[in-house]
Symmetry: C3
C-alpha cells in the first residue's frame, strides 16, 4: 500500500509487505523513544487526538509518539459534552476537525464510526479503537513485540508457536492478532478458554485456511508447555454464561510463577494487552511474574510508541527526513 496520506483504519488493509515496512520504520524510532536522540521532523505539525471514549493509556501513547517526532497535540477526552452528542453527524465533525490538524487519531465507541469519520476527513485518520471492532495499532504492537522477542532468539514470525489464553470470544485484541498471523506461514496456535468464551469459528477457519495448526483447549497448564509466546487476556466474571460456569473456571486461566515454572519452556515469553486486573480475585495474569525477564507486557506498551511513531512518519511522509533533523538528548534519560 501507499502510506502517504492514507488512513489507518483496519489491520485488513495491510499485506505482509506493508507490515514489514511499518516494523522496519519502527525499528529506527528506538533511539528517539529511548531518549538517546531527539528529532524535530514534525515541528509545527498538529495531531488531533480525538478520544470520544476515554482511554488514558492509548491517548497518551499516541500523543507522546507525536511529540517525540517534534509535533504538537490538541485533544479531546470525552464524549458526553461534544457536539456529536447533540446530533452532529460524523461527517460534520470530520470536516471541521480535519481543518484544524495534520493527522487525527480517533477513538469512538461505535463500530464503524472511525471509518465513516475518515471518509469525510481531509487529513489522514488513525483508528484508536472503534468499540469492539478494530484497534489496529494494538494488533501491530503485539505482532511487533512477537517479532522482536523472536528476533532475540534468531527466529522470525514464521513457525511461531503461540498460546492464547482467556476470553477469546470478546477479545478484540486476540481476534486482530489472529488475522495478522494469517499473513505468516506455519503458525501453531493453542486457544485456551472456557467453552462458552471460545474463539469465534470464523477466526479459527481463517487460521486453518492460512495453513496454520489450531488446537482448542480448556486446560491452561498443558497448553503452554511448548510455545514461544503465552498471550494472556482477561476474563471478566460477568462474561461467563452462568454462576456455575464462573465457579467452575475461576482461577483456572490465571498464569502465575508456579505454573510458568512447572509447565513452560524456559524461553517462553509472556504477553498481555493490558490493562490487567491485579486484584486478588481476578482471572488474570498474576503479579508474581512481575520481575520475570520473559514478561514482555511492558515491552509491549513501550513498543506501542515505536509503532505509532512509525505510522505517523509513514502517513505524513517524513521517514527519510527524521535522522537529518536529529540531535543527542541533553537531559537525564531515565532507567531505560
Amino acid at each position: 500500500m501507499e502510506f502517504t496520506g492514507s488512513h489507518i483504519l483496519s489491520i485488513e488493509q495491510f499485506e505482509r509487505f506493508d507490515i514489514e515496512r511499518v516494523f522496519t520504520v519502527a525499528d529506527t524510532m528506538e533511539p528517539y523513544a529511548q531518549r538517546r536522540k531527539v528529532t524535530r521532523v514534525l515541528e509545527g505539525a498538529i495531531l488531533g487526538n480525538m478520544f470520544f471514549e476515554p482511554s488514558t493509556r492509548t491517548r497518551v501513547s499516541f500523543g507522546c509518539a507525536f511529540n517525540l517526532l517534534g509535533g504538537e497535540v490538541r485533544e479531546t477526552t470525552g464524549f458526553e459534552t461534544s457536539a456529536i452528542a447533540k446530533g452532529e453527524s460524523l461527517y460534520d465533525t470530520a470536516r471541521v476537525l480535519s481543518g484544524y490538524s495534520d493527522v487525527i487519531c480517533m477513538r469512538h465507541p461505535a463500530v464503524g464510526s472511525v471509518s465513516e469519520f475518515a471518509e469525510a476527513s481531509r487529513v489522514p485518520v488513525i483508528n484508536g479503537g472503534d468499540g469492539p471492532n478494530e484497534h489496529p495499532t494494538q494488533a501491530l504492537l503485539d505482532l511487533y513485540t512477537i517479532r522482536q522477542e523472536l528476533t532475540a532468539k534468531q527466529r522470525g514470525v514464521d513457525g511461531l508457536r503461540i498460546a492464547m489464553i482467556g476470553d477469546l470470544k470478546h477479545g478484540r485484541t486476540v481476534h486482530s492478532l489472529c488475522k495478522l498471523l494469517t499473513l505468516y506461514n506455519n503458525i501453531q496456535l493453542t486457544l485456551v478458554s472456557p467453552v462458552e468464551l471460545a474463539m469465534p469459528e470464523y477466526i479459527v477457519d481463517l487460521l486453518r485456511s492460512a495453513g496454520h495448526s489450531v488446537f482448542i483447549s480448556q486446560d491452561l497448564n498443558h497448553s503452554i508447555a511448548n510455545v514461544d509466546i503465552a498471550y494472556s487476556t482477561r476474563i471478566q466474571e460477568e462474561r461467563f454464561g452462568s454462576k456455575d460456569e464462573a465457579d467452575h473456571y475461576r482461577g483456572r486461566f490465571r498464569l502465575n510463577q508456579a505454573i510458568y515454572t512447572q509447565y513452560c519452556e524456559p524461553n517462553t515469553v509472556i504477553m498481555h494487552p493490558l490493562p490487567r486486573d491485579s486484584r486478588a480475585d481476578a482471572n488474570e495474569l498474576d503479579n508474581d511474574l512481575n520481575l520475570h525477564p520473559n514478561l514482555a507486557i511492558f515491552r509491549q506498551t513501550d513498543n506501542g510508541i515505536l509503532v505509532r511513531m512509525a505510522l505517523f512518519a509513514l502517513v505524513l511522509n517524513v521517514v527519510e527526513q527524521i535522522e537529518g533533523s536529529s540531535r543527542d538528548v541533553n537531559w537525564y534519560r531515565g532507567q531505560r
Copy 2:
C-alpha cells in the same frame, strides 16, 4: 484601537477600521493554516485555554491557532471540579492563571464573567464565549467568511444582501453578526423565523439606524430568492412557545437542495455557525447540500483558525515577525 496587550471581549470594542486590520492579518495566515509554511514566531509562549464550559470545537480551534504560531497550550476543559466551583472569585482565578501564561482564552457560562476575569488578568484575555452574551471570534469569522465569499465575486461587504434563518431570538451568533454589520453600508437583511423566535427589536432598530433595509418574514422560500448569503441557524424544538407552534413550523426553516435549487440565485452562499443537528427530525440545514460548492459552513470553521491566529498575533504584537521566522512545510499536508 491599539491591539497590543488588549483584551478581546466584545465585538462592540471594534471600529470598522479595526476589523479590517484583523482581516488583513488573517489573510496573511493562510499559508500557515494551509500547511504550506510553518512559523515559530511564538515559540516559548503559552496560551492558557481556560474552558470552564465544554466546547470541543472552539477550544481545539483556539489551541491549534496558537500552535500554528509556534506556541504551547495548557488548558482546562470543565467547571465542576475547579476552584471557582468552591467559591473562588474570578479575581483570584485571574490573578493566579495570568501568572502562568502569555495570553488566555476563556469560556464560562456566566454573562460578564470573562470581562470580570480580564479586569484582574495580567495578560490579554480573549473571550471564547460567556454564556448567551458574547462570542466575538465567532462573529468575526462569520464576517470574515462573508467578506471572503464576496471578494471571490469582486464585491465587498457594503451592499450585502443576507437572509438570516431560524431561531433569531436566542441566537447569539446572529445578534453579534448584525451588530458587526452596522459598521458597514447599505446592507439588506431578511430575517426569517417563527414569530415567537423573531430577532429582538433592539437589534432591528440598530440595523435600521445604520441605514440598512430590514425585512421580516416567516416564509423561507421567498426570503432566500435574492440574497448573497443564506445564514441558517438551528431551531431547538423546545424553544417554540407551544406544541402547536412547533407542529405548525416543523421543517419549514429547513433549507435543502430542492428549495435551494428552486428559489436561490445560483451564487447564493450558504452559511451556518455549526454545530448543526443532522438527525432526520431536526429543524436545520439539510445534509443533502453537503457537497454543494456554495456551502461555506466548513470554510467558516477553517476561517476560525485564520481569525484566531490574527488576534493572537495582534495582541501579542508579532505580526511583523511571522514571515521572518517561517519555512516550508516538509510533511504531507492533507487535501486542502
Copy 3:
C-alpha cells in the same frame, strides 16, 4: 541529596542545603517566568502530568513550568475512567506510563500512592499531592515566598516570626511548612485556630524540638501584632465539631483590612495557599486586602512556577545548560 534522576515525594527527603539548592536554581528561573527570556533546554522532552484527582491550578502550574523549559506536556485530568479504577495496580500504571515520558507529575487521592507509583517508575516522579498526605512543591513555594519577602527586607528565614491562622488540624499546607521550618533556626510561631482545629501535637513537638518558640492562641487580633508573616488558611464550616462551635467562631479568623491596619506591623506579609473562598460568609482572608502591597498570595502562585521549573531542571540535570539555550522574548509580555 543527588537531584539527578531522583523522585520528589516528600519534604522530609530534603536537608536545608538541598532546599537552598532548589531556591538558588529557582532564582535563576525568574527571567523565563517573567517572559524576558525564553529557553529551549528541554525541547523534545515530555512531562507526563498525571492528575488522577482534578486540580486545575496545580496541574496547569506544573505544565507551564515544563513548557517554559521548552518541553512538551501530555496529561490526564481525572480518575473514574482510568484503568486504575478497573483494578490496574499502581505498579502496572507506573511501568506503562514511565515508558512514555521523561518525568512524571502525579496527583492521586490515596495516601502513599505516589510513592508506590514512583517505586515502579523508570523516570523521576514528582508528587503533586497524594490526598491529605504530602504536596511538597506547595510547601517549597511557601518557604520560597517567605525567603523572598524577607530578603527584600535584608533578612533571612532564620529568626522568622510567623502566625498561622485557620484550620491547622487538617491543613496539609501548614503541616508541611512547619516541618520545613524545623530545618531553620530561632523561629517564633503563633498558631491561631479554634481549639478543635488546633495544630497536631506531634508537629508542635517537632517545632519545639528544633528550638523554636511556639505560642497557641484562639485570638486572631493580638496574635498577628508582631509577626513578619501572617499565613492564613481556610476553615470549612463542616470542620467544626458542632453547630455551636461554628457559631462561636464564625468570622473570628477572617483577616481583613481593618484588622490588619489596627493590629499588624506595617511590613507584615499576608500569605494563603489558595484557593480561598471569597463568598461573603466564608471564614477566610477577606477580599478588601486584594490591592494591599503586602498581600503575597499571588506572588506565592507565581513562585510555584519558579520552584517547579527548578525541580524539573534539577532532576533532569539541565541546570547548567539553560542559559546557553536562551534568547530574548519577542512578544508582548503582559503586565509583569
